[in-house]
Amino acid sequence: MDTLLLQILNGLDKGSAYALIALGLTLIFGTLGVVNFAHGALFMLGSFCAVTFSRLLSLSSVKLDETKLDFLGNPTEIKTPYVEAWFGPETGAAIIDWAVPLSLLLAIPFMILVGFVMERGLIKHFYKRPHADQILVTFGLAIVLQEIIKAIFGANPIPTPAPDIFKGSFDFGLALGMDANKIIYPYWRMVYFSFSLVVIGAVFSFLQFTTFGMVVRAGMADRETVGLLGIDIDKRFTFMFGIAAAVAGVAGAMYTPINSPNYHMGMDFLVLSFVVVVVGGMGSLPGAVLAGFMLGILESFASMNWIKDIIPGIDQIIIYLVAIIILLTRPRGLMGRKGVMEE
């Protein structure tokens, strides 16, 4: 019972990452019909927004300390971050400590911009081209983005911790009257889960309570006719791309304390996010979110020891297995719409 609860909790936050990535992807892939192999790269860029932001905050003035020598026998450098110099050591340190959440200030505008540029400069020319061409061009773009990040930040993961007050974990078990340590759950993961709910809610309500979603769907089905009705569909597509990139970006930025970002993390998530979107059903936002959480939880279940004892290696294949079963029993995934990317 407690292990089950524990794995559901685990699944929820893994699921929130999947759901957020899939949400962004489904805006582009399920709604605009562009097979965007660069989506993982957008997630990765978001992460590196957090890295960059915390580096910016830690920009320091350098003083040489002659009394201490480094390994080569040169005087060591003593660094004082400018923020500490400006805001005083305490506030300064606090700001640096909060770098990850604060980095959203950078990530959101930056990722929207990236989305705009990407759509205007590249994707725009590919709406009418075959999906295969879209794959190739976005894959090329993903590699290029990735390599640029690698050239700047290296290939090694870069630790990007959460603010101090979110360190450690909360003991749910204790709160529910069980023994200590039965169900513990890190604070930052709770933050991430709540954050994902907020983002998902915001995107949903935007698309639900405005005609925006309908217009974009119509535009995907038939751009020409929507144009005939006086709607500048290009602009809306660009805007949609911006939102999608921002969703991917914030998902990435907030994810950094969970796993240190590296340049190829996007590729690691890429395949999975496509699977999630398709299992959710093409063109369905709720489907993508549902599939994200579902696969996250199932993956957590599959990693439980007694299950692994029964079916060795199940945790390696669970996602794919579930995807296959769902796609074979439900032709269009969980909640897919008819006719979207079926030919």
Partner: protein
Amino acid sequence: MLGLNKKDTKFLLIVIALTMLTPFLTQPFAENSGLAQFNAGYPDLMQRFAIYGIFAIGFNILFGLTGYLSFGHAAFLGVGSYSAVWMMKLLTVNVIPGIILAIVVSGLFALVIGYVSLRRSGIYFSILTLALAQMSFNLAYSVLTPITNGETGLQLALDDPRILMAKNTSGSLPTTNLFGLSMNSSAKWEVLGHVFTFNVGYYFCGVIAVIAFYISLRIFRSPFGLMLRAVKTNQTRMSYTGLNARPYTLAAFVISGMYAGLAGGLLASMDPLAGAERMQWTASGEVVIMTILGGAGTLMGPVLGAGFIKYFENIFSKINDTVLHGWFNFLPDGLENLLVTLIHPFVGKGWHLTLGALFMLVVIFLPGGLMEGGQRITKWIKNKRSGGGDPNSNKTHAPKPTPHVAE
């Protein structure tokens, strides 16, 4: 000839000539020139051109004709490799049984996977193939280690049974061969500072590649090929015309799976190792990209795409700063360093960057892939020769007739 019309016969002859002359074509630079770095005429790479060419040709039979985009084709390549290596461990290092087993096993595997995934179309099909292949990969990497030797990959060992062969006492492994003709034996020919290598393994692969190409040519021109193209454009009309699309697509899937298995078997025959990475989604993605890059649905395109990618992987990744300095050391130091700094990010460890950028450039500017580039050049030359026709000379009020498929 061979059931082909004149034009296709010519086409096939050109392909044969190109295959046979590869050791020359890939070795354009003299051994001592700075550009020797760009030579690709060594056995391993030439073999890879041929083998990945086969892989891509087969993939194109499915994707180019039916439009079904499989994202799991590497699984068949991997299965082919494993089968071939097992054959070499158990029976003999003669490559023939291994290759036959590779084709058969991957064909059966494709039959199963195809049967399951072809129940869906479009992106749903792609994800099904992806999922099935990733499952195979993950299992091969871990749980199936007794069969696949996991991450390290399956290799020959001294104590393998090899029951069709005499007991090995030499303390070293036998080399793969074709009835005694060793795959890694080569003849070298030095002339005018060029060194040309004629390798048994390459010619073996080359001949098989030509046969594979010929078969694919026949398929493209056959009623079966026509049906596959019909599947791609309108399945509804197809079924109301009395045709059952499923067996056609399944046959195409199995055939292309067997091509992949053949490629896998050949890889193992050239170098007896079968690694699980061969089955990973990136490997499946690679053949997709080879095909699109070269020109999906064209006959030669996928082969070109395969060559292009393998060339970059093997040649560009090996260009390091020392090599760069070697090229430019005739320049003044400042300029030399500047050039090296400018080129540095694109070669060696940056070869991915170049590849990614080239992918983008090719699809943006050559929507039909490299083949379109070729066609444009030919057209341009023709135009030039005919004195450049007036572009507005076409005054007919009718759409242009389409050229025959897959030139």
